[in-house]
Symmetry: C2
């Protein structure tokens, strides 16, 4: 079994082109992980996800611990076998969903007590149980339990929350069972306060992790603040470890963060938008339901290699969405995942070629140019 390791192959400014090696395969970075909340990337078969270019996916500890249960997944041979995804899987710690979905949650120094949003059952998530559940799921990358500090958050409250997350990070590290090819990531918190972010980064680095996530962003602070805090954080993270900006984001947010030294991303945007009729294209987002598409025989994007663009017109995709047909969600999701993966491939190539700034400028110019002329 291979070691868990990260190699930076090339740098261009702060941006890095890397390789992440895990027990379940290698991931080219910068990488975007499609979200497979409940052990399925919504509306996709695993083959479609892989065909779209994704090498690694994210699954949700919170959802899976409640249904079908971590012990059950372990008995069924782990998440890879359960969901037929042989490649690397990163699981979050469940903390974020506990805050946003569960009811009657109570945070203490121990961890968080909450009730399931599905059946009201009581659960206790602690740094140790969160790590243990992720081991049962057989995640290549385990995330420490943290509190995703809400926004806005008063400075003192943010600091208190961040410091508790740091204590949880230490306990998570102690609970993590080292296995070849498996890694544990710490999560930087500290809201929008650069000093707190620095403190958090230093604390985590001292504990020592296989990778470092930036959490608590993209929660309403706005893209400029996200960029500013990302930029204030990445220089304080170890240069030889992967950096993961959690829950980000829109294509332009991803590009901006790559320029600031981030290596990994996850977001529900490409999959959720696939179900709500928003397609991402080189020329920006397209609302497929729009009347301008109703008799447009052209593909969404004539240079996109995805199944939707290869074989279907905008008119057909518009019809499927208006008719609420599942195939509409299937095709738009496949397109959106492909779009994101193509964007990441473009960024990787540009970093290797030393032209990532030009790539980002060209991306931005096209992305904001508006959709192709209507027919």
């Amino acid at each position: 079994m291979t070691d868990f390791r990260f190699d930076v192959l090339a740098r261009d400014g702060a941006a890095r082109r890397g390789l992440l090696k895990t027990a379940h395969g290698t991931v080219d970075t910068p990488a975007f992980m499609p979200v497979g909340t409940a052990a399925t990337v919504k509306a996709m078969t695993p083959e479609m996800v892989a065909d779209a270019g994704a090498q690694m996916i994210l699954a949700n500890t919170y959802h899976l611990m409640l249904r079908p249960g971590a012990d059950r997944i372990e008995r069924l041979g782990g998440l890879h076998r359960f969901m037929n995804w042989p490649g690397p899987i990163l699981t979050d710690s469940g903390g974020f969903q506990v805050m946003s979905l569960a009811s009657l949650r109570r945070i203490s120094e121990d961890g968080v007590l909450f009730r399931s949003h599905i059946d009201g059952s009581r659960h206790h998530l602690t740094p140790r149980t969160a790590v243990d559940i992720q081991r049962k799921l057989d995640a290549a990358i385990t995330m420490v339990l943290d509190e995703c500090t809400p926004f806005p958050c008063e400075e003192g409250v943010a600091a208190e929350s961040m410091r508790r997350s740091m204590r949880w990070a230490e306990r998570s590290k102690a609970a993590f069972v080292t296995r070849p090819g498996y890694g544990l990531f710490g999560i930087v918190q500290g809201s929008i306060y650069p000093d707190q972010r620095m403190e958090s980064a230093a604390t985590l680095t001292a504990i020592g992790f296989d990778g470092y996530a930036i959490g608590g962003l993209a929660v309403g602070e706005g893209p400029e603040t996200t960029k500013r805090i990302t930029e204030a954080t990445t220089p304080h993270l170890p240069a030889d470890k992967p950096r993961y900006l959690m829950g980000v984001g829109k294509p332009d947010d991803v590009v901006a963060a790559v320029l600031r030294g981030v290596d990994m991303f996850d977001c529900v945007l490409p999959t959720r938008s696939g179900r709500t009729g928003q397609a991402f294209t080189r020329r920006g987002p397209v609302n497929i339901e729009n009347a301008r598409n109703i008799e447009d025989d052209r593909p969404l994007d004539n240079r996109c290699p995805c199944p939707a663009c290869r074989s279907y017109s905008r008119a057909y995709l518009c019809h499927l969405h208006r008719s609420k047909e599942i195939l509409g969600a299937i095709l738009l999701t496949a397109h959106n995942i492909t779009y994101y993966q193509q964007l990441m491939a473009g960024l990787r190539q540009a970093i290797a070629a030393g032209s990532v700034t030009a790539f980002a400028d060209a991306f931005s110019e096209q992305y904001t140019a508006g959709d192709i002329e209507a027919v």
Copy 2:
């Protein structure tokens, strides 16, 4: 371009093994057509439908004339190009859905006036417009407009309805534009009255069609009556033309009708059940949501070649269904279509081998044996 033709390759009792040649390809019969109501077989890509073994699908005139519209589909190059299904497509006439879905419908000698169930718009479907719409859709097989006589129906009312359908059939024939490889099917009506079925069959045969459907069955009369009326009808249809039992049905109903000389079938059952958690297997229907499946690591059916049975456990399918995940609908629908296509392939092979009765007996014994033992 090939002629529209039907060749009976083998007979076994009343059952026939045949080949239907159309402008868009050849179909092995007995054949089951998955239903693609709104120009998509629900939850499937066309590739999945073809991989499941289906050679021909059905699309709905009623739904497509309302959304996105027949003229629009014609301008977009026809249904094959629109939905990326290059193979043969049979379209129904819209009559059945007008009766079941539309509001304010009024039947006259001319045809039927109705309001769309989508937006309330007024439409007039006549024998001529129904045929014309299906030409615009570019259907390999056009169905005549008929009235699907409801059940139960008093004898005199049924006869009146049937005779109007026969006059419509004649007008449909007059409106049909003959094109190489395209065919027009008449539809036998007459409710549960064998004399009316005979009269209807004789009337249609005298008009002359490329195939003959049996309509107005599987509408609540019960499987024994369906069999009895099918058996009373098929001997009165031309032996050299395909016979199509509309809207049938459950696997055992399909087997029974093949034994009585039917060549073609369509039904929403495999696709609809795929979305409601019912899987068809050699051992009968399985409710995937059932607690007995929750930790069952075995496939639905270990001899089934479909994607769901190749790569996923009952436990995972159960989880997907309980979590209302789209992939659950995708995999179960793929399984159910594959099940039906495998059943048809078995019937075809048995007819060719002269063993269709033994096949039907073995099918019935297994199908009623109940699911495999729980783990």
